[in-house]
């Protein structure tokens, strides 16, 4: 009875030795990976652990570990807070507007650009439209104020010279969200167009020839050849957008907003920033941040599953 077990344990031991030997064989590779692993542990996984302060009464002196547990207290506080529902709603509304108006435009521009035969024109347009992607939101904010301010902004000057009265694009609650969404689209549509263009460059030209031989017109060609060819890219970008639905654009809003438009423009991130860092309510702010992360995660999984159910590849 002894012999088989010891043989098995010997086998286990030798396979474990084998494992260790394999790891040792690649020790140089692991060593090269070490800085990145350290970075991810310190700046990503430790903060994930730090998010436990959402269930604690955090105090700077006691630190993350020493602060006492309080269970779901902060989440209960949040749910009773009118402000919570306001920022939650704003986040979703601004994101949905961006998705609704911002998602189709780059695709349309890419399809139109794909029909252009003059290469010089095509290149010029491509090069210019994604320039704003590489300009920071602070600079963009400055440009927008220059364009849109009620007194000296050129847009309002044009409106006035046409007989209208100035519009508070950046100061009026009823226009602020449109300004946010519009300027976000203006800054990012070019870059997203380039992503589609990259995918379009991979479409096999013989497909177009075949479609032409079959007598397909322009619309039919776009519908039956171009769109199906870049379907994967469209789906992947859509999944990523849905997974980022809780990201309504902190930097942009932080640069452009002010107390007069908090009611329509204060989003989860800006509120977390003010509650946590300005008011020092770390645990409450962390609870809200965690809430956001979890929703984002769930949305990403759902979108991915939906894409897979429809027969497309997901992102994972």
């Amino acid at each position: 009875m002894e012999a088989p077990t010891s043989r098995i344990s010997a086998q286990v031991k030798s396979s474990r030795m084998e494992g260790i030997r394999r790891v040792l064989r690649y020790r140089n590779l692991y060593l090269m990976l070490l800085p990145a692993i350290a970075y991810y542990i310190i700046f990503h996984y430790y903060p994930m652990y730090g998010a436990t302060i959402a269930f604690k009464q955090f105090s700077i002196i006691k630190g993350i570990n020493g602060s006492p547990w309080v269970g779901l207290k902060h989440f209960e506080t949040l749910l009773q807070l009118d402000k919570f529902w306001e920022v939650f709603w704003n986040t979703i509304v601004i994101s949905l507007y961006r998705l609704l108006f911002g998602f189709p435009l780059p695709l349309i521009v890419a399809l139109l650009l794909n029909e252009v035969r003059k290469m010089a024109f095509k290149r010029t347009v491509q090069t210019i439209i994604y320039l704003p992607h590489f300009i920071s939101w602070v600079i963009m904010g400055g440009l927008l104020i220059n364009l849109l301010s009620t007194d000296s902004g050129i847009v309002n000057q044009v409106i006035r010279s046409l007989g209208g009265s100035s519009i508070g694009f950046l100061s009026d609650e009823s226009y602020f969200r449109s300004t946010l969404v519009g300027s976000m689209i203006w800054k990012e549509f070019g870059w997203n167009t380039i992503i589609y263009m990259a995918a379009l460059a991979g479409v096999n030209p013989s497909l177009y020839e075949a479609a032409w031989m079959d007598g397909a017109n322009r619309m039919q060609r776009i519908w039956h050849v171009t769109l199906p060819s870049i379907r994967t890219t469209i789906i992947i970008l859509l999944i990523l957008r849905i997974g980022g639905l809780m990201e309504a654009g902190f930097e942009q809003i932080f640069v452009l907003y002010h107390s007069g438009v908090y009611r329509v423009a204060d989003i989860i991130d800006t509120y977390v920033y003010r509650t946590g860092l300005a008011d020092g309510k770390f645990s409450l702010a962390a609870a809200l941040g965690l809430f956001k992360s979890i929703i984002n995660f769930v949305l990403l999984i759902i979108a991915n599953q939906l894409a897979r159910m429809k027969g497309d590849q997901g992102i994972f």
Partner: protein, 288 residues
């Protein structure tokens, strides 16, 4: 192929017009701010639609260039961009190379844990507490370390390196090269397009970094350019209190001149490197 027919001609005419218009629309804000920046300060306060300047002056630029804070912020941003990009590239390249080896035990698990950080994060506050605990507040390291590796860039590098033929590496190994030598001598020279693209992504991101600066930097001595620019440009609260009009604490031409001065580095490299940006979009579109 289908340039015949009135319908096709009409379509092309509309198409070119539309694309031309959105291109002009993209450029216009930059053009307008350039024009305002060279308008005399006294004139820029008056309302007048200006597509071209009436009188050209560089007084706004002289004012900006005379500001000490501009140069100290420029210095901080240059340091963060150069040192940060070098550090990011070293760490990202090493990791991407290792993770491109499908035979590495545990490699897939580590890759999963890295990609997972794109889907789930601890949030703003816990990250802030970590940076504080590390004593990085109000130092340039707060602008460099928390963003050292961008997972998206790591993925681009990794997929590119995975396409380097294994046989080349085998040959080098037989010649007695170790892993590090293979990376430097064989894989890196073949990965230059990815290296150029990713370095550029890192550099632009670091030059424009605003979020981390707002979170971790309050000391004016360590202000990067973006914080200086915010102080120069953004006075929403004052504008709102005054009922929508900008109170012109600083002349509009000075603000626009500061935009020009701080955007020049990006604008200068843009025409030369723009094909690498496009390459980045292409590489990013390659699914794992």
């Amino acid at each position: 192929m289908d340039n015949s027919g009135l319908g096709a001609k009409l379509f092309q005419a509309c198409n070119y017009t539309f694309l031309g218009l959105i291109t002009l629309l993209t450029l216009f804000p930059f053009w307008d701010s350039l024009i305002v920046s060279i308008t005399p300060i006294s004139e820029s306060m008056q309302s007048s639609v200006h597509l071209f300047p009436k009188t050209v002056t560089f007084e706004a630029y002289e004012y900006i260039v005379g500001m000490k804070q501009l140069w100290s912020s420029y210095g901080v941003s240059i340091f963060v961009t150069v040192a940060g990009t070098i550090l990011s590239m070293i760490v990202t390249t090493l990791a991407a190379y290792v993770l491109s080896k499908s035979y590495l035990p545990g490699g897939r698990a580590i890759m999963f844990l890295i990609v997972f950080t794109m889907m789930f994060s601890g949030g703003i506050i816990p990250t802030y507490l970590v940076v504080k605990q590390l004593g990085m507040m109000n130092t340039v390291w707060a602008l460099i370390m928390p963003l050292m590796v961008q997972t998206y860039n790591l993925i681009i590098m990794r997929s590119f390196m995975a396409s380097v033929p294994e046989s080349l590496e085998e040959a080098a190994r037989i010649d007695g090269c170790g892993d590090f030598r293979i990376l430097v001598r064989v894989v890196l020279p073949l990965s230059l397009p990815a290296i150029a693209t990713v370095s550029l992504f890192y550099a632009v991101a670091k030059w424009n970094e605003f979020f981390t600066a707002v979170m971790y930097i309050t000391d004016k001595d360590v202000w990067p350019l973006q914080l200086f620019m915010r102080a120069m440009l953004i006075d929403n609260e004052a504008v709102y209190q005054s009922g929508g009009d900008s109170p012109f604490l600083l002349g509009q031409s000075i603000k626009m001149a500061s935009i020009m001065v701080s955007t020049i580095p990006v604008m200068l490299i843009y025409p030369f490197f723009q094909r690498y940006f496009v390459q980045g979009a292409t590489l990013g579109a390659v699914k794992e």
